[in-house]
Amino acid sequence: MAHSMMQRSGGKDQVIAGLMLSPTVLAAIFFIYAFILWTIWLSLTRSTILPSNHFVGLANYRDLFGSSRWWRSLSNLGIFGGLYVAISMAIGLFLAILLDQRIRGERLFQVIFLYPMAISAVVTGVAWRWLLDPNFGVQAIVRSLGFSHFQFAWIDDPDFAIYTVVIAAVWQTSGFMMAIFLAGLRGISPDIVKAARIDGAGTLRIYRRVILPNLAPTFFVAFILSAGLAIKAFGLIIALTGGGPGYSTNVPTIFMYVFSFERGEMGVGAASALIMLAIMMVVVVPFVILDARRKV
């Protein structure tokens, strides 16, 4: 970051720029990297209710991967992350393409679709909890219309509750994905599209062969953002299901919180936090490298 600033001009500006940025850089180094190092250390110690420096090697990782609750959290992250990223990107792209047809009232639609993103995750969770609650929500309403055997109680079913989290998360961020894709679509020069039209390509083909390939960087941004949101999801799930029924909708973030703060197993909590960091790396780093290569 600072590096690109430096390249621009000589002596005096460089010094000033360096001085201006140094507090931020120092703060970042301390508050991000020092704490990552501390978490690594904690994960190797027998830290229970308070941090301790009693070294135990990889015992916490062994306990972590011996815990079926942790495996459940990981598999939930896989189910939730995969479905949420795919569906919210698909819906976002679809809405963006519809809005890109220069329709009337476009601004209004944009606002309507973007609005859920402005609501806090906790509020979204609570609202969907009521909607999905079989006693008051969708099931009750449909039944009151006369369909007395209509069943929709996913939120109470340990095998299906994770899908309710997908529904609420998709609802919240699809509009945001739409905004990203819309920006991408607007960035494609109309000349290319016109040229394709002159060559006699139909609309579907233009989208498949011209527009979507040109959207690759946008896909990249949308994926990074939604994958990040999926891995970090916490408040929404706490508000929607509380991680339940049982621990059937636990994800690594909830696991980490419970073990570090409720249960006094700070070492195990720290280990789980680092596994999350590793997942983030595995998902995001290849894309960053790909992106960097493309720019070169």
């Binding site: 308070l50 109680a153 109470d156 509380g242 029924p245 249960r263 197993e265």
Partner: protein
């Protein structure tokens, strides 16, 4: 250019100086008390504590932190300690008090114990939790009983049940009768903590106090992975069949409301439900709602005690204030008032329970008999019987069992395994 810069610098230095000087200006005899009592009646009672301390010239800062069954409060406590900001007292209970004792941060409040004659007035079982290496470091606030069954009289009458169930078979028969009438037989099952709270008396009823201690206090793998545990889990499964799935995600006080308003017949819950019934305007033991010992545990008492640990203060005034706080928390006046609201009973056995409801009076009587007959057991679900990690292991196992088709045999085996892993974590 020069002048403004200079002025700014001066201001900045003054500002830093003011910040640095702030702690020195703080009142020497003010103590912060970290707790998670934010519900109406509990907050009211804490307020009484603040007033009583004010009368003695001590300024109590009531740090009530909501949420997470105290998880947030504990997080804030740890953060403060790491910042070097020592609170006066914090709500910590059970075996965890010993863990805090190891840290060397706790204050010795023997003087308060002597003044209040805790040795004589507070039962030994409770006393032992409050001591670290022979010295008092904590004070108890209340005494809860867990093995209760709350029921709505009108619902039972509608189902043709004349008297509340006295043993397991009667309970199951009654649940079936209520279900046949199309009403909710059992309110519960909302979350892992609630499932564990319901399993608490079921386990005691199935295996008796000695086995209960082997499992939840001694964490004996043989007792955990045993036919008795399998039977207890089978019984939990039976209760589950009479608990509507639609109550998942509900809180215990929501369930209490269902029983209070005649929408459900029974609830298995500790006597904090007592305080909630009172809050809803139906006195347990009165004409609408009844309480009975959980079937088969009439002579037993699963206890849960909330307590505060005290932190070592740097100043003499601070140390004196800490002793006053411990004395006030265990004074008859405060304990009577606090527990009346909370639905529990005082830890002091030498005060008369004037104005308490019938269920609370029953709780006191049964504590005294259970204490004589060695039928007192510490509640595992409320973190009284062991450290956090093994307790968590039990709760996780029950959670998994309750929300899947796992067989009781497999659940008992995996419970023993989980507890074994958790043992290494304390």
């Amino acid at each position: 250019m020069k002048q403004p810069t200079k002025r700014l610098l001066t201001l900045a230095i003054l500002g830093i100086a003011a910040l640095a000087a702030e702690p020195a200006l703080a009142d020497q005899t003010s103590l912060s008390v970290i707790n998670w009592w934010t519900a109406g009646s509990e907050a009211k009672a804490m307020n009484v504590l603040v007033q009583m301390m004010k009368a003695q010239g001590v300024n109590i800062k009531n740090d009530a932190i909501a949420g997470g069954g105290g998880a947030q409060a504990r997080t804030i406590l740890k953060t403060r300690l790491m910042e070097g900001e020592t609170p006066g007292a914090a709500q910590i209970k059970g075996v965890e008090i010993q863990q805090w004792g190891h840290t060397g941060l706790l204050a010795n409040v023997d003087a308060a114990a002597k003044a209040g004659d805790w040795d004589k007035n507070i039962p030994t079982e409770i006393d032992n939790y409050m001591k670290y290496k022979g010295n008092y470091v904590a004070a108890p606030m209340d005494l809860h009983r867990l093995n209760w069954l709350w029921y709505n009289r009108a619902v039972l009458a509608k189902a043709g049940i004349k008297t509340p169930p006295k043993d397991w078979d009667e309970l199951i028969a009654d649940l079936a009768k209520v279900q046949a009438k199309g009403m909710i037989p059992m309110a519960g099952g909302g979350n892992g903590w609630m499932i564990a709270t319901e399993f608490d008396p079921i386990a005691l009823e199935t295996g008796g106090p000695a086995w209960y201690r082997d499992v939840f206090v001694k964490l004996d793998a043989k007792a955990i992975d045993s036919p008795t545990m399998v039977k207890a889990l089978e019984r939990l499964r039976q209760i589950e069949q009479y608990t509507p799935k639609s109550l998942a995600g509900r809180t215990w006080n929501y369930d209490t409301g269902l029983v209070a308003h005649g929408q459900a017949a029974f609830q298995i819950m500790g006597d904090w439900a007592n305080g909630q019934f009172e809050f809803l305007g139906v006195t347990p033991g009165g004409p609408k709602v009844g309480c009975v010992a959980f079937p088969g545990t009439a002579n037993d008492f699963i206890y849960n005690v909330d307590s505060f640990i005290f932190f070592r203060q740097h100043s003499a005034a601070g140390r004196e204030a800490t002793i006053k706080l411990a004395e006030t928390m265990t004074s008859p006046k405060f304990q009577l008032l606090f527990n009346k609201y909370k639905g529990s009973i005082p830890d002091l056995m030498n005060v008369s329970l004037k104005g308490y409801n019938p269920c609370q009076l029953k709780s006191r009587a049964q504590f005294l008999t259970a204490s004589k007959e060695h039928n007192l057991v510490p509640s595992f679900s409320q973190n009284m019987s062991t450290y956090g990690p093994p307790t968590g292991a039990f709760i996780d196992s029950l959670d998994q069992f309750y929300t899947s088709n796992e067989s009781p045999q497999a659940a008992a085996a995996s419970m023993a395994k989980r507890v074994e892993v958790a043992k290494s974590q304390d």
